[in-house]
Amino acid sequence: MDAITENIDFFVDGFLGTLGLLVLSGIGAMILGIIIGAMRISPVASLRMFATAYTELFRNIPLTLILFFCANLLPVLDFNPGYFNLAVIGLTFYTSPFVAEAIRSGINGVPVGQAEAARSIGLDFGQTLSFVVMPQAIRMVVPPLINVFIALTKNTSVAGGFFVVELFWVAKTVANLRGDQVIMILLAVAVLYLLVTVTLGVLAGRVEKKILVMR
C-alpha cells in the first residue's frame, strides 16, 4: 500500500493526464467527426467519397501506428508542440471516424417516414434536417457516442507508451520504482480507469433508458 501513498503525486498527475487526453481529444474528435459525418450524408458526391475514404482509412490503421507517427515522425518534420499535444492530435484523428460513423448511423436510424412527412408538409432540406431529423437523430446518437468515449478512455493508455504522463505511464514508472508491490500499483491504476469507464457506462445506460421512455 505504501507504494501508492508514497507516489500519490504520480497517480494524481497520471489521472489528470488521462482526463486531459480524454476531454481534449474527445472535443477534437467530436468536431472532426461531425464534419466528416456531415460530408458522408451530404449531396455532394466528391465530399461523400472523401469522407468514406477517410473513415475506411483511419479505422484500419492501428492506434499505435498513429501515435508512433505523431510522437516520433512529426517532430522530425519540425512540428513539435510537445508529446501531450501530439498525442491529443493522434487520438483526435483516430477517434473521429468512429464519431462520424455513430452520427451517420443515428441519422440513418431515423425512420424514412419522418423525413417524408416533413417533406410532404412543405419543409425544405434545411428545415427537414434541423426541425425533424436532427432532434431525433441526436437522441439516438448519444448512447453510441458514449461508447466511443469509453473506448477513447481506454485508448488514452496507448499515449503512455509514447512519453505522455498518464495512467499507463504511471503504472509503468511506479512499478519500476517499486518492484515489490507491482500488483497493488497496477490494480490501483485499473481502478482509476474503471472510475472513468464505469461512470460513462452508467451515464450511457441512463440516457438509453430515458430515450426508450420517450419513444
Binding site: 465530399l47 484500419n60 490503421i61 492501428p62 499505435t64 468512429f98 417533406r119 481506454k154 474503471l194
Partner: protein, 318 residues
C-alpha cells in the same frame, strides 16, 4: 434513409450547381492532398542549417531494393499474424467459457463471472499486457497473447450471451422436454444457434484483435512495427534517413491486412445473415434482444445487433 427523400429531384439548374460544387470540392481536396505531398517531398532546411532531402527522394527509398529488408518485414508480418492467430483462437475459447458462466442458472457462478467480465471489458488492453508481463514475469509475446485473448474473450463472451438470450425460450424448453440435461441443451441446442447468429460480431472483434496486436509494440514485443521501423533503421549502414519510408511501408502492410480481414468479415456478415428462421419479425431498426425473449417460436432468431455491425458500429470497443 436515402438522401433523395430530403430534397426534391434536382432540376437541370440544381444538377449543374451540384456538379460544380462536387468538382470544386473534389479539386479542393485533391489540391490539399497534393500540397501536403508536395511539402513532404520538397527539400527542407533544418533549424541547424542542414539541408534535408524530401521524403520521396530516391535516397530514402533505395533500401527497398535490398531483399534482406523485405525478409525482415516478412518476419515482422509473421510475428504479428502469429500473435493475432494464437490470441484469436484463445479468445474464442475464453469467450465460450465466459458466455456459459454468464448465462449460468446458478447465481454463484453468474454473479462473479459478470463482475470479472465487466472488469476486463473496462480495462485498457495495454494495462493488461503490462500486468501479465510484470506479475507473471513472462516474455512480451506471452503477455500480449494473454491480454488480447482475455480482453477479446470477454467481449466475445458478452456477444455470445446476448445471442443465447435472444433465442426464443421455446428452444431451451424443447431441449429440456425431450430429456436433455440443461448443460446438453445449452451446448447442443442454444449455443450453435447463438454462435452462428453472432458470427459477424465475433469476426469484427477479430479484426480489432489484429489491429490491437500492435499494442504489444509498447510492451516490447518485436512485431511488424518494431522490426520494420526500429530494428531495420537501427541496423548498421541504414540510419534514420529511412525512418519515413519504412514507416509508410509498414503502414501500408497493416492497412492491407486489416482491409482484407474487414472485407472477409463483411462477406461473412452478408452470408450468415438473418437466414435462420428470418421469415418474420426481423427488426430492421435493431430492437433490444431482450424484447425477443418470450417471442413466438416462429419469430425465431432476429439479428438485432447486425445494424451495428454493418457500420462496424463501435468496432472500436477494444
Amino acid at each position: 434513409m436515402s438522401a433523395s427523400v430530403l430534397f426534391d429531384a434536382p432540376g437541370p439548374k440544381a444538377r449543374r450547381r451540384s456538379l460544380i460544387t462536387s468538382i470544386v470540392g473534389g479539386l479542393a481536396i485533391v489540391g490539399g492532398l497534393f500540397a501536403l505531398i508536395w511539402t513532404l517531398g520538397s527539400e527542407r532546411t533544418t533549424a541547424a542549417g542542414a539541408v534535408v532531402t524530401g521524403l520521396f527522394h530516391p535516397s530514402r527509398w533505395d533500401i527497398f531494393l535490398n531483399p534482406l529488408v523485405w525478409e525482415r518485414l516478412g518476419i515482422g508480418v509473421v510475428a504479428t499474424l502469429q500473435m493475432a492467430g494464437v490470441a484469436a483462437v484463445l479468445a474464442i475459447i475464453i469467450g465460450i467459457l465466459f458466455s456459459f458462466g454468464r448465462a449460468a442458472s446458478s447465481k454463484w457462478i453468474r454473479l462473479p463471472v459478470t463482475v470479472i467480465l465487466e472488469f476486463f471489458r473496462g480495462m485498457p488492453v495495454l494495462l493488461m499486457m503490462l500486468f501479465v508481463l510484470l506479475v507473471f514475469s513472462v516474455d512480451a509475446y506471452v503477455a500480449g497473447v494473454a491480454a488480447l485473448a482475455v480482453y477479446n474473450g470477454a467481449i466475445i463472451g458478452e456477444a455470445l450471451r446476448a445471442g443465447i438470450q435472444s433465442l426464443p425460450r421455446g428452444q431451451r424448453e424443447a431441449g429440456l422436454s425431450i430429456g436433455m440435461t440443461p448443460l446438453a441443451t445449452r451446448f447442443r441446442i442454444e449455443f450453435p444457434q447463438a454462435f452462428r447468429q453472432m458470427l459477424p460480431i465475433i469476426v469484427a472483434q477479430l479484426v480489432v484483435l489484429l489491429k490491437d496486436t500492435s499494442l504489444a509494440y509498447i510492451v516490447g514485443y518485436s512485431e511488424l512495427l518494431r522490426i520494420g521501423v526500429n530494428q531495420i533503421s537501427n541496423a548498421p549502414g541504414v540510419g534514420p534517413r529511412y525512418f519515413f519510408s519504412l514507416f509508410f511501408v509498414v503502414l501500408a502492410i497493416y492497412l492491407a491486412m486489416n482491409l482484407l480481414l474487414s472485407w472477409v468479415a463483411r462477406l461473412i456478415a452478408r452470408r450468415s445473415g438473418p437466414r435462420l428462421g428470418a421469415t418474420t419479425g426481423v427488426t430492421p431498426d435493431g430492437g433490444d434482444p431482450k424484447s425477443q425473449l418470450g417471442a413466438e417460436g416462429t419469430t425465431a432468431i432476429t439479428l438485432p445487433l447486425r445494424s451495428n455491425f454493418d457500420g462496424r458500429g463501435d468496432g472500436q470497443a477494444r
